[in-house]
Amino acid sequence: MTAKMPSEEGKQNDASSEQNENDGGETSDLLGEDEDDEKQEEELSENAEALKEELAKIVVHPPTQEQLPKEIFDPAEFPDSYKENLPKENLVLQYSENFRRQYVHLYRDRKPLFLNPVNECGVEPRRLLSPTTILKRQKGNCFEYSTLLCSLLAGAGYDAYVVSGYATREVCLADESREICPLLKTKEEKMEEERKKEMKKYTVKPPKDLRSKFILKQEARAKSEKESEIAKRRQEEEEKQAELEKPPPDPLHGLRIHSWVLVLPGKREVPEGFFIEPFTGLSHPLDYESYLGIESIWSHANYWVNMQDCSEGVKGMNYDLGDCTQWEFMFNTDKPLLQIPEAEDDIIEGLEDEDGSNKGLRLMTEDTIFSEMDIQEELEKQMDMPPTWVEPIRLSRKDFEMRCPQGKKVKLYKRAKLEKFAHYLMRDGLICKLSVYEDRELTALIMVREYYAHREDKLQTKVYNHRTGIVVEYFNEGRMRCLKEHQFKASNPGPENERTMHFFDEARVDGLVSRIETPTEMTEHYKDREDFLYYKHVEFGKRPKKFGPQEGFGSNNPRPILKMVQKFHRNRSKLANEDIAELVFMCSEDKIQITYHTEDKRIASSTREYIKPHNWDEKGATLTFSGDMHQTFQVDPTSQQNKQVELYQMLLELLKAEDKCREQVRESEMEVVEILKDRTREESASELDISVYDTERNEKAKKHRRELERRQLEEKMRKQEMEVDYLAPFLAQLGEPEKLTRQQAYQLREDCLGDLKQRLIDKANLIQARFEKETQELQKKQAWYQQNQVSMQKNDEEEYLNYCSEAMFRIHILELRLNRHKENAPHKYMMLEQTLRQDPRLAEFF
């Protein structure tokens, strides 16, 4: 990221007060000793006598900031642009000096401007370090912070400015201990307006209220009185509390210098302007009451001095920088001026005549010899600012991820402490820890909230409530069994205790939303099930005492189930009278109770009750049924009575349903045990989950990459060996000079080409010689054959013929080779020449 920054620099320093180093952005002390002294002087002039006594009491301390070790920068660390001024920059400096002198001249009672401070390569302590240095050191004062932030914002296209002004002590010291921690701020719950019953044309009238109106009135009055009293008391208490927590009065209120960032609307779809506090990074509205005044603002392009009244803080300030009655600029600006230049120039001039002090600031001084118009023109010519001398702002990925020095940071808020950690810094994945206390001294802990990231068990947040002893863990999606939230007592983490689990019901096959347990009860809520079940409640009895060694919470000795309740939503495909709404298995009484849904036109619902046959739990037993085992109430007395056989079949089904329900309860119990086992295992081995794309941290990927790199290197080496350097022998002849001279290069080329030529000719000669030799031999043989043809035997003749054909073949081949060589040789020659031309060592000469 590159960003421009205000590039005023120079030897002159106009910073009005000394800035303490802000260590890691935590504290900043802008205590101005000068102001202190001035104040005392004023008092002195008023009453000299009283002062004498006062003086006796005053113990003068030497300024504390002197004790701070001065940081000295090594100029060698920085590029030239940090150390030298370009001519253009010097010009800008001249202008700023001119501006300053006019300013001082015209506004004698105003504070000196913060113009051209020195950078890290200067000598004086009053300085403004460059953003790159701040980023590297990770500490600085508010001006440096603002400059860095502003540079980044301007680089990203925002209309951002550094503001130099005054702020309260708390802001200057980055003391947030009176602010509520942003993590604790509950989002303003939109109070859902109670939907007023819409009065439609035919809405029925409410029933007549037969109560006495007088009594009602009396009651209402008594009630409102009581309420107002309570409210009053509460308010008083709150006020008292607020009084207690109010910061002690600040003797330097309004004198503390601070710097922050202003972002104006217009660019990057910013709808309205706002401030950014550099120490906290929080944005504040333009009427933020902790900012007490603005002296001047500047950006990479210009410098504006505030001409507006700041007696009431920054409220109602106008940020139309083109309005020169409110913002005095240093350089002519391309921002649209409020006045239309030609039409109103005369008026301005007229104004100047009358009230020269106001308008004369436009760079008109005694020693300016140009007329105003000339200056204007010249300025327009020279308006472009010199390029920034600061290196591009770069933030390494590692630094970005570490965020704070050492990756850790502690912040104090009102009754809360916030600790932040960089990702992957803590072995258990902790990234943030918020402790909430009862008192401002941070001694009585109420609650601790821990935020985690990248954990394999998907733990996201963990909340310990130290008052109730309840722990709540929140998980992200992706766990086995889809756990979303787990709430339990820290003192009783085992199964069959008080706990609440919430699940990601969309991911679960059974649609379980939550499971709430107490030692004797378990309630489950479901959603979107095909069987319309939405609620299940189980009551457990005490375990029958068993002799012998104590067994764990296994399936060996489950708790007896006393009662199971299931509730169902309405299934519209069934008749209401046959659609079960509530099914109660009274296991301890061997009863089954059914309540059906209510028909749309009715208010009562049918019920049914079965008494289970005595041998219901015997396997394979024939279950008997008689009429007195069943009772029913039908809302519609005229409805047909069910047949006995139907009732019997219904009973069988209910018994099956009971079995199934019981099984599910046991499964739920087992699941709880399993989840708890998983949790203990996960807690003990908290490995962090590393993304496959995270090449920095993923050890496996790292190893793989290194291996690949090694292999690539080897490959490269091998290739290099393969490529023979044909210049090597000739270079050796020249004594392997570091750099070739022109002559040497020519020589080298000539040698190289000559050598190739020689070799090509040699080769051609060689082939020619062979060819000739072969031909000669053949001729000799032929002659011999001519002579001895008569006396030759058949064998010899055959031999001769064979030889002839072979020789002819060889000659033919040689002929072909010779021809081809002749054809190729020029090509080879050309190719070498080409390669030589392109050879890096020779290229510069050809």
Binding site: K201, Y202, V204, R602, V635
Partner: protein, 525 residues
Amino acid sequence: MSRLYDTVEPSVIDEEMLQKAVEDQGPKEEAGKIAKVEGIDFADVKSLRLDFKNILKIDNLWEFSCLTKLQLDNNIIEKIEGLDTLVNLVWLDLSFNNIEMIEGLDKLTRLEDLTLYNNRISKIENMDTMTNLQVFSIGNNDLKDLENLVYLRRFKKLKTLNLNGNPFCSQPEYRMYVIAFLSNVEFLDYRLIDQQSKDAAYEKYQIPIEEMLHNEKQGELKKEDEEKKAKQLELHRNAYVEGMDGPSLFDMMYSDDAEGNRLKEMPGVDELILTFKEKFVAICYQMFEFGLQENEKRQEEVAQFWECVEEAKLENKEMGMKTIADFMVYKKKAFQELGQISDSTLLDTKVKEFNTQVSELWDKLMGLELQIVDQLEEVIKDYERNMADMVSTFLENIQGFLSQCRDLENIHHERMMELSIVTLEKVIKNELDEEISEDLRMLFVDKDTIINAVSSSHDSHLLKIDNKEDDIVTRINNWLKTMIEQIHEEQEIVRNRRRVSEINNLIDHLRDEIDGLEIQQGAQY
């Protein structure tokens, strides 16, 4: 195939056979025992199997109104009959019989699975109502004509088809033909049809299929269009302005008007009628627009009324249900307590308390009911008044429009009169330029005749307009009357009776319950 009649005596479906079948196929074991003691109603039976019974005639099955599955295979049935009452049938098996014709299945609209395997059927027909058919087996029959299969295209859900063993199966193009023309079918003759053969079949019969699809599409569009038109007409009828967007009323005026039609030939009448018609139709159209607007308003009013009534009822119902639920919680607790009390005096007080609570419940529920009765009564009264107002304004306006029509007619009549007098004079003087027909000439014999003719035409026109008015007035008044009556009947009387009897039933039940408990307790001591 079929067995000969003389070898085995054909049997008749009678009480005995049915009883036996039902018992054999009914519940087993303990349930069966209970069922036997109690007896099984044929109306409760869901499925029935009557196979290998040598049945000749399907009969006496009317009692099985709930039957969803019926098996009559392997009999000697010759005619499908007597199944009209079994409207719930989903599964029907008539395989291995002697059926020659598909018939008598019109009422079985829910049928999904029909088996007519191994019969003597030669034509697929009379199945139009079985829109849910999914499985159809008609193998081993006497089907010869492949084109008859196109009939099966109407079954959009038909997935499985068995045609194996029919005469046309020996034709080489049989399979291709079936696949091409019955593209919905996935299983043919026990085998899955793969995409390849589907493509091949389509290619082969592309032209006839495209043509058929086109025709079907056209038919569908036409049907849709007709439906749309019918809907539109229905809407206009409900607005009581049907036909008012055209010259239908005007045409009607001249439909029964012999004189008028005859007079049309009179020279100069053409123009008169043209302007008259134009104005008349314009008024009719205004009426039409107004009618539609009013209808919308009325519908909106009706909807609003019902919305509010339903809301009120729902609220009342919820209050009632909550009251009952609260009481049930109390009841549960009370019964639990009662079960543990052994002291008889304490028991008595508890029972008394329970009874007072029950009475209180009754009071509350009845109070709620009274409340809604009052509320509804008031609202209905309001509604009735508003509706009556609406209807009367509608009628006033309509009558206004119609009297405009009448005025037009009167003006037209006067002009006709003038024209006819003029023409009469011309005819008498024999100055008429054009030839006129003999019919018309008959009217111009003297002044009275022509005046009478014109007047009677006028009267007939007025009569038509009056008729129209009467029709609209009666219809809308009827509508209002029936609606209001229905609301009174349904919302006030029937609803109230049902709710009161429901409350009483509940209270009686609660009292019975406590009495029963008391008796039990009393018996213990």
